[in-house]
Structures are given as C-alpha cells and as structure tokens.
Amino acid sequence: MQLSMAIRKNYGSFTLSTDVTVFGDRVGIFGVSGSGKSTLVSVLAGLVEPDVGEIFLNGECLFSSLNGINFRPEQRRIAMVFQQHCLFPHLSVKNNLLYGFKRCPEKYRSIDFSALVEVLKLEELLGRGVTNLSGGEKQRVALGRAILANPRLLLMDEPLSALDDTLRFQIIPYLKSVSSEFGIPYLFISHSLVEMRLMVDTVLAFEKGVMVGQTTSEQLARNRMGSSQVGYINLLKLGRPSDEGSLYAYPWGAARLLLSEKSERDESVAELSSKDIIIFKQHPEAISARNLLQCKVCSLFSSGRRIGVELDCAGNTLISEVVQDAVNELGIVPGSTVFAAVKASAFRILPG
C-alpha cells in the first residue's frame, strides 16, 4: 500500500494537519489521547471532509480540494473499526457481521466467515441482538464486521482495547495472516506498545494533530531500539523443529536454536528482539538461557543511547543492542568473537 495524505482539518482549537506518504501494509498510528488519531482515520474513510488537501491511495486520488474530488465512503472500499463500536442495534450479531460482506462485490469476497467467527469466539452469539452484548463482545463483532467487508484498506481504532490478553493474542496473528493472505493493508491505532510491536511495521506518531514522526519498519526498529521498549525485531527463518526434551530444536541456517514454542510447519519465521540477546566475551557456564551462539561482530551502530551490534552467527545475521559501557568493557569491535545468549522463550513464531 502506498498512502499519501496532505490535509488540514480544523475543529475550533484543534487542527489536524499531516503531510505524509507511507508505504507498507501494516501501519500503526500512535499518540496520546486527543492527538487526532481517530480524526485521521475518519478523514481517510471519507467520513470527515478535510478543509484542504489531497489523499492518494495506491496512486488513486480519493480526495482533492483543489480538483474538487471527494470519493464517498462507500466508493472507497475502506472499512473501519470504530472506537465506539457503532454496531447496528436492529440487526443480530450475524447480520452485523455480514453487513459489509453482502455489499462487497463477489470477486473481492475472500474472507472465510466461519474461520473468522471462530477466531473471534462469536459462535454462540450469532443469533443474538447486539444491544446487550458485553463490551468485549461488541468490540469483536465490530472487528469482524469490518474484516468481512473485504476492504482494500482496513482502519482499526483501538480494536483490541476491551479484550483480555488471551483473546487479544489469538486475534493478532489472525489479523496479520488475513492481512497478508488476502492483501488487506491496515492502519492500526493503539495505545499498547505490545500490540503495536506485534501488529505493525511502520508507525506514524502524532502530537496535537501534527505528525511528528514516520518510520518505516527498518528505521523504526533502529530508532526505537534506543528509546523504547520495542527494540529491533530480528526475523529468523527457521526450519522444521525436532523435539528436544521440553523444548524444540529448529535449524537456523547452519546453526540450531532451542525454542519453547512448537511449530508444525516446515518453515517458520520467528521474531527476536535485539533486547533479548545478551552478549558474552567468553563462553559462560551454567546459564538459564538455552541458546548460546558463537558469533562474529560485523558492525556497530548507535541509536539513541544504545549501540546496535550486528552479529554473524554461522552465516545468519542478528542485531543485538547493548549500552556503550558494555561495548567498552567487552571490547566489542568489528571482527571480534563473542557469545550471544538467548532464552528459549524469547522467540515468537509468527503464525503463517
């Protein structure tokens, strides 16, 4: 997806003004309460008309105050999960879910209804009205309704805020797989750093209606490594695992990694944060971390207060982050040999 928005929208004391072009299918919007996130997605969906500006989605002009172009919401095929749910009170859960689906041209319909209902745990609610649903149930219906519209862009305004962790972490991989499988890019608003980290590659940061930073996935990783909890996310291509006691041993290039998570697939991708890698100068003894890899330091780069260390582990690349003191003390320089320790539970296998 390529989305460019150069717009201004004034509401009395609040003004939203952005001039941004963003590439990538998984985009996050981050900012404090009242910073204009919901306004931004409403503009994108065509529900709020900007005062001036232009919006292009994949090269197509959706709005242009200059040329008098303003596609109506129903022409945009941009579905939205509203912050306040906005379910149709006169329809059952099932008919709420199917509202967009029925209006979607046959050729675009690719989401499987029953799989979605299962992930969202809505099976037992299908026949019910929506007025008496619990907060989390409403949120799930709203999410399902938007996905089933098979949009070309999905806007989600804090779609998981009312859900418990179990549900949330079941829905996140589903959302990602739906997005990649059917090519539905999304914009995701959340206050949760964990959700952001799991859901998106690119983040647009807003403050008082102004975009204060856009980072592509690579930039984000390096910038935020120093200033945030997210760190740099290493993506590791793993082979088919074998049982190894209570753990699972995955081939990783020429090396071998122990993970606590099991995968049934021949190929998996695992996430590993740069923060979850500890570097030793010498081989440590008796350590709880199950993976101890001998690596060569390729390069060093700094990000904020932290130093990124690019490691070569049997031909694979890993980015670890350390502080300057550690670099000095351990004498980490390009070319030196170190040991990287990673806990078996630090990996997260991406659902595929």
Binding site: G46, R72, P73, A79, Q84, C86, Y99, G100, R103
Partner: protein
C-alpha cells in the same frame, strides 16, 4: 347491544378502507419527505416543509375546499385524471386523498423525530461498509426510524378515522359510497332524534382506534424484545 343501521356497517367498512388506504398510501411518501427534510440539505427544503405542514394549520374544511379546486373537474389534477377517464371527487378515492393530505403532516413529523434520533455514526458505519445512500436508507434509516414510523402511522390512521371536514367536501356524503363514520355521526348528530345512533358510532370509532393502539403497542414491544 349498540343499535346500528345497515348504512352504519357500510360507514364502518368505508372508514376502515379509507383510513387504511390513506395510511398505507402515505407511508412511502411520508418516509421520503421525512428523509429529505432530515438528511438532505437542498434548496427549497423550506418550501417542502411549509407545503407538508399546510394542511395542519388550515381548518380541514379549507383543505377540502382547496382539494376540490385541485381535484375537481376543472382542477389541475382533476382534469388530468378526467382525461384518463378517472373521476376523483365524490368517490372513495377522494376521501382517501383527503385523509392522506390531512394526516400527512402528522406522519412526517413523527417520522422526523424518529430519524433525528438516529446516531449519525451508524449511518457512517454503513457507508464505510459499502452501502450507498439508498441502501443505507433502506437497511439502516428505515428500520431505526421504525418506532417513529409506527407511531406516525397509528396517529395518521386515528386521524383518518376522525377526518370529517375535508372528506365531506371532496367525497360528498353519499351513504354506502363515501359516507365514512364521521360523516354518519355528523348526520345523526344534526337531528335531535338520532343522538343515540351518533353515540353508537362514536363508540365503534373509539373501539377501532383502541385496536389500532394495541397493535401499535405490541409492535413496539416486539421490536424492543428483539434487542
């Protein structure tokens, strides 16, 4: 038992026919007008509002008189229909039109109150889900303004049951043909000897509206239960 003459049974039947026809006939138009006034900003909106409310402000007799001018042999609409071989005045059609015109403002106003109560975000939601305006109209606005619609219809039905002034002018007061309950009541009431007959018909009229009322209530309850 209440004594009723054979023409009274006719009157009851005719009244029901006229009220029902007027209500059903007005529903789509009323809905369309209420929708236009509530949701669409267009030139001439005020004119539409004034026209719709006109029959309310004017005494029904005056409305009847204007309708006569319009539907009569030489009237703008009447001559059109005449050319097509259809006579309107002094027929049940004219009674239906009279009731429809007089009750229309009530219907539209009720529907508008219902429509104005709809959360605009629901309309937005339906549009982001791919519904065009007419789709939203039918699948969101119509069902959500249903309470207003039901209330408006029952108002209009009741009003039609009691419509006298306009009806008697355009439809005449022909027993068995255009004489509805109010017309029959009027006839009875204007002679000192048949007051009890007038009262009987009043009771019938009230009973009918009671039934309509209950239907309305149960409809409203049914809808409430759905949630």
């Amino acid at each position: 038992m209440i004594p009723l003459a054979p023409t009274d049974y006719d009157a009851i039947r005719l009244s029901l026919q006229v009220s029902l026809a007027a209500t059903l006939l007005s529903l789509p138009f009323g809905f369309a007008v209420a929708y236009l006034i509530t949701f669409v900003r267009f030139r001439g909106r005020v004119l539409v509002e004034v026209l719709v409310n006109l029959p309310l402000t004017l005494p029904p007799v005056v409305v009847g008189y204007f309708l006569l001018l319009l539907l009569g042999k030489h009237g703008w609409l009447g001559s059109l229909f005449n050319a097509a071989g259809i006579r309107l005045i002094f027929t049940l059609k004219a009674a239906v039109i009279a009731c429809a015109v007089v009750g229309f403002p009530l219907l539209v106003r009720s529907m508008r109150i219902g429509m104005e109560g709809i959360d605009p975000q629901l309309i937005n939601a339906s549009r982001t889900l791919g519904a065009r305006w007419y789709d939203t109209l039918l699948t969101v606005i119509l069902p959500l303004s249903f309470p207003g619609l039901v209330a408006g219809s029952s108002l209009m039905f009741a009003r039609s049951l009691g419509e006298f002034g306009a009806t008697i002018i355009v439809a005449g007061n022909i027993p068995g043909v255009t004489q509805t309950i109010p017309l029959a009541i009027y006839e009875y009431a204007s002679s000192p000897t048949s007051e009890t007959m007038a009262l009987s018909l009043c009771i019938v009229s009230v009973a009918i509206s009671l039934v309509v009322l209950f239907l309305h209530e149960s409809m409203a309850k049914k809808m409430a239960r759905k949630n």
